[in-house]
Amino acid sequence: MIPPSWLHLAEPAVKRVGFTCLHLINFGFAFHLFKENVGGLCFMAGPSMLPTLDNSGELVLESILPHRLFPNQLGRGELITLTSPVDPSRIICKRVIGLPGDVICVDPTGLKAHSTEHVIVPKGHIWVAGDNAAWSRDSRDYGPVSMALVRGRIAARIYPLNRFTVFSKNATYIEH
């Protein structure tokens, strides 16, 4: 004889809670996959890009899908986000200075290397640097970074509405 139980009353409620959790997890994955593969808004912090991007409190639009589809379309002077080659849990924002095959002066300011030292960027790698040379940890420290580390581009600044900017390729080539 099975004793009478109240469990059959709780069963629909348990089922509904479980199903709601599954929906929430599904939604969370969808959101995260979108943010990691298509693009999204993110806050920037840190002094390394200072004249271009402020120290804190700026909201920018990160576009990832175009870079995923056409990874070879990177141009000099573009703002990119990449996973830090030193600490994989950090995402950093830098400016592309050199593409594969370019000859790069390691540090024109002479802070971290002699200003006469030059390197050739190897195949599949790029040279990145922050705009604030005095406060940036970039290719001058860890050398050329692999293109596989690049996440996407910084497309526009959204939040301080009076400083709304669309970032574009703005490299100017000086002919000698």
Binding site: L22, I25, N26, F27, G28, F29, A30, H32, L33, P71, T83, S84, P85, V86, D87, P88, S89, P122, K123, G124, H125, W135, R137, Y142, V145, S146, M147, A148, L149, V150
Partner: protein, 232 residues
């Protein structure tokens, strides 16, 4: 009548069939829902499946002979199918020497490589021929990866230490072919007792152990304290 349980009764008689015709708007809607709505309902749950393969576990086929004889040995006519664990890499679990990992090719970012981790940050490695220097110090946040077969592999001896951010997943389980099914075993020294016949398994274990020893002999561990870099 009360002897029959309630659920044995049909809700509608078997003879009453639903009419599907163009003149019946309800029927056409149902048909359209059947052809479009059912697949859409699966698409709704797609993020769950994609998320599971992206952040937890995934099955992959291994091509190429660079991890021979651990994976894709010359004796097997199949490509190995293995389970890769992405969760342990994403959750920042420390990476150990001897693990087999999948990583994105630092030279061609669209390709994936499967290699063994030989040294982690802070070690000094004696390199093999294609590398320009005889010894190299693996910097912070980097690992040194190599294929098990030194001849047919594109590894750190070609492109140097690899940043941890390029690591994608860790190999945990071989699914196919069936004769090597099972979790990836750590290489241990094979027992040699009197009376125990030395079959092919003993010899392959012995060979793996020898390879492991040879790899370890090229790596010297140095404490990171000597190389603390000041981060501003």
């Amino acid at each position: 009548m009360s002897l029959f349980p309630k659920f044995l009764k049909l809700s509608r008689p078997l003879t009453a069939r639903r009419v599907h015709s163009a003149t019946n708007p309800e029927g056409s809607f149902r048909r359209a829902w059947a052809s479009i709505g059912r697949p859409l309902r699966w698409i709704y749950w797609l993020p769950l499946g994609l998320g599971f393969t992206q952040y937890f576990y995934t099955l992959k086929t291994i091509r190429g002979r660079s991890m021979q004889p651990t994976l894709n040995p010359d004796t097997s006519s199949w490509d190995d199918i293995v389970v890769f664990d992405r969760y342990s890499i994403n959750s920042g679990e420390p990476i150990r020497k001897g693990d087999i990992v999948a990583l994105r090719d630092p030279i061609d970012s669209r390709k994936m490589l499967v290699k063994r981790i030989v040294a982690v940050a802070g070690d000094v490695v004696k390199t093999l021929p294609p590398y320009p220097d005889a010894e190299v110090f693996v910097p912070e946040g980097h690992v040194w990866v190599e294929g098990d077969e030194p001849f047919r592999t594109l590894d750190s001896n070609k492109f140097g230490p690899v940043p941890l951010a390029l690591l994608d997943s860790k190999l945990v389980y071989i699914v196919w072919p069936l004769d090597r099914i099972g979790p990836l075993r750590p290489t241990i020294s094979p027992v040699s007792k009197r009376g125990v016949s030395r079959d092919f398994r003993w010899y392959s274990d012995m060979a793996a152990f020898k390879r492991e020893q040879r790899r370890q002999s090229r790596v010297t561990t140095r404490t990171l304290d000597d190389h603390v870099s000041v981060v501003t």
